[in-house]
Subunit: 219 residues, 2 copies
């Protein structure tokens, strides 16, 4: 049994911290993006998606408490990276907001699925619960399909936007990995080795490509 | 049995429409106000309060559908009054945001309690459920108490703010009542007569005064 099979609470708290701040900031951004919706039904759908994040946030921070950590301290190291991601991917149209909600939710779900393998059983249960009750971003798929159905220019613009979202997500993840040794070791250890990490990134990228195709955009 | 004992679906849909738009706009405003919080814990507490509104919103609009109505159409007549209320009571400090959350949640709960008496049993169940799962605004009480504990000027400024909130709420309610006959009749009918309405307003005002005292502010 390696140290990575029983990762230290500190690394788990780091992981919970970045996930928790990710949820809190997703709430913040999506609730603001909802204002761009062209009608009340879509505004409500985006608001609903945002609201679900707060349920996840609550469970993640409860777990940080259980492990003897302080949520505010646990989140603090990740604020800058997460906010930089959002500042660089602030949607300026409703279409961009839809693609961001869909791609962001998908990437988050993939990351949750991957890290569920690395963590203690209690934390794993929490992560799996969070995945199960993610509000459906299906409305975003439908709406993007409608928007781009007769507009090739918009389709190519939103495809580019999707690539930018992933690029910024990867760039900020690398920054976090470089700065947070314990968290990086948890993930490297969980993945087995650096080849395991490459395979993990490969899986996440592949799923992202599938989602872009599903939404009618090229990757 | 008078007409008011079995109010028409149209009046109930009107009522559900104003409540639903109230929830959606409360979500929108509180999620934005959360950004003024001085730390992550309080930002999360306000965000949590906002998120709960979307659960209410969902149930209210589901009921509108059940009654054969269209949520967007049902909400449309009330957008202007609700948005005017918010535009005139946009908090410019964290203290104002806290008082607005606390007073607004309280007034909404009182109004839900009153209208629960007027509506059909299915709608009543929904209204009572919404009341039961309202996220606690207790943190707002604690935070306001801390803010004003050594600051008499702030206490008097926030007391004034509380009065303005209620004044604007009453003024926009009167506007809605004047414009929406069916809804006004539902409430007048439910309250019995105009004296009943006066008693209803009296009860709501009394509870508001109690809440202001609880939060450490004068009325």
């Amino acid at each position: 049994m390696t140290a990575a099979d029983q990762p230290e609470a500190a690394a788990i708290i780091d992981l919970l911290g970045v996930l928790a701040y990710g949820e809190l900031s997703a709430f913040d951004r999506m609730s603001a993006d909802a204002r761009m919706a062209p009608n009340l039904e879509l505004r409500a759908a985006m608001s609903q998606l945002a609201a679900v994040e707060m349920g996840h946030y609550r469970r993640l921070t409860d777990r940080i408490h259980e492990l003897g950590g302080d949520p505010q301290q646990a989140m603090a190291p990740f604020i800058e990276a997460v906010e930089t991601f959002h500042a660089r991917t602030d949607p300026s149209t409703w279409g961009e907001a839809l693609v961001k909600a869909f791609v962001g939710d998908g990437l988050a779900a993939d990351f949750y699925t991957e890290v569920a393998q690395f963590v203690d059983p209690e934390t794993r249960g929490l992560v799996i619960d969070a995945l199960a009750d993610t509000a459906s971003a299906d409305f975003a798929v439908r709406e993007v399909a409608t928007l781009i159905s007769n507009d090739a220019t918009l389709a190519s613009r939103l495809s580019l936007w999707g690539r930018r979202l992933v690029g910024e997500a990867i760039s900020q993840s690398q920054r976090v990995a470089a700065e947070r040794d314990a968290l990086a070791m948890l993930i490297v250890g969980g993945a087995g080795d650096l080849q395991g990490i490459a395979a993990l990134i490969d899986r996440i990228t592949k799923r992202h490509t599938e989602r872009m195709t599903e939404i009618g955009l090229s990757n």
